[in-house]
Symmetry: C2
Amino acid sequence: MRILGLDPGLALTGYGVVEPHPRGGFRVITYGVIRTAAKEPLPQRLLHLYQGMRALLETYQPEAAAVERLFVQRNLRSVMSVGQARGVVLLTLAQFQVPVAEYTPTQVKTALTGYGAARKAQMQRMVQLLLGLPEIPRPDDAADALAVALCHAQHATIPR
Amino acid sequence: MRILGLDPGLALTGYGVVEPHPRGGFRVITYGVIRTAAKEPLPQRLLHLYQGMRALLETYQPEAAAVERLFVQRNLRSVMSVGQARGVVLLTLAQFQVPVAEYTPTQVKTALTGYGAARKAQMQRMVQLLLGLPEIPRPDDAADALAVALCHAQHATIPR
């Protein structure tokens, strides 16, 4: 099953696509970020994010998607900004009929490291190791997206 | 100029369309709400909101749109929920190339009543009076949408 992990944001939306490796585990198909320019009006930025998401879904045709639940500790302005981007991201997934799973940060950390309070550097290192990458994925938003994709990979493939 | 006012929300997005009256002032073309069902998954709700917004824009072809800036005093969960809906609403406006103006609640209240701390009942009464409606528009979300449309009508037609 090909899984798209997403870390939605207005300036940067991280994405990562993983699928099962024939020899076990998972391998990365692609990862990166959709950027929008701060100098553009908000509706235009959301339109570019929408177009980027549709291109991603058309190109990689994932069978499932995973996103992190919001960080409720962020400030209100940031939550509104992330919320607007997240709305557009979830809309495109519905348009492509890709089922979406949501995970808390603790669930993602536990899935990758066995430790719900793992630090960012440890998480990034595990993403690198689990996917056999030559280096830690950059930027952070892409690494976060791969992490939530791997979290869903575990939840979706391990019988409860 | 035909103006679409919007009060975005996940469960209810209020809308109201006004245009200049041949005898001066503004008249209402339509108002109402786009509803999404709480029992549906979030991506589906956003898809229905998207479809409702597109139908509205296709039907009434507004030349300008106006939305309120977020209420930053709401709780984080509510801000995220409004943010997701707002992202989809602004996206559809960008797709239809409708320019969007944003107003603070104080700006809207001042435009309609001359008093920046006007109460909801007073605002609704002014919406009714300014548009010559037989009754106060219901639900509140539709009245709020008409209020921001009228606010934009004032700002757009009165020379600075």
